[in-house]
Symmetry: C2
Subunit: 125 residues, 2 copies
Amino acid sequence: MTFTRTLLLTDISPPVAAADAAACSSPLAREAIGSLHAETLARSLKALADPARLRIISIVAAHADQEACVCDLTGQLTLSQPTISHHLKVLVEAGFLARAKRGTWSYYSLVPGSIDSVAGVLAAV
Amino acid sequence: MTFTRTLLLTDISPPVAAADAAACSSPLAREAIGSLHAETLARSLKALADPARLRIISIVAAHADQEACVCDLTGQLTLSQPTISHHLKVLVEAGFLARAKRGTWSYYSLVPGSIDSVAGVLAAV
DNA sequence: ACAATATATCGACCAATGTCAATCTAAGGA
DNA sequence: TCCTTAGATTGACATTGGTCGATATATTGT
């Protein structure tokens, strides 16, 4: 890329596309997301893209105080305790849940806005 | 589920939780999502949870006519043509893209509302 | 018909992921 | 102090998933 002036969209006359674009290509209305942005969003979506983890989030969100202990989860999910613990870790590391240990019990709460944020970013892709 | 009358939230007095709930549990404000719903949403999210596929969707959406040919993608993604073709297939099967073959070229377009729909469902989990 | 091009499919490979049994850690109660 | 219980960690395993090279299919141009 050695051009001193960036090729603008308005520079493209209908029949001719951008320099390195193929003949079949149509004009762009805006920029696509960058690869870095794509990787960040993909990481968040990967953390959510599991039935057990979605149910965990939903169970936590369904509680009046937006908080659930692990026993709430082991009771409703037909998964072993270590597996549930693993999913919780994934969700905490992805920034969707926060852990608070009180006595013997661990309580998990939703990080406010974290889900909505991902949903918003996704809708803007 | 053989109860004739559903247990209402207002039936639960503060100190006592639902029948099979543990001592650490707090009351629910609403129902959590069902496992079927969770699996459906997870399938959609899995299709989106990949950097290459997010970029593909973004590139398609960035086009003025919401349509891109494969050559647009091979030019921008540093992935082999078979790999891109694979990702396109995943996105079509998940219902996010539609394929239209015209002549030698295949054009992929966004299925209107499909992304917003997932974003909306996700935000409601 | 033939050659060239665009895209899809196949087969194989390696990395990442979900799951569980076994074990470890920490907090409470007797 | 010891036992019990809640939860996290570890290690192993099977499955899924992303990638590419090779090949197949289909369409256009000569």
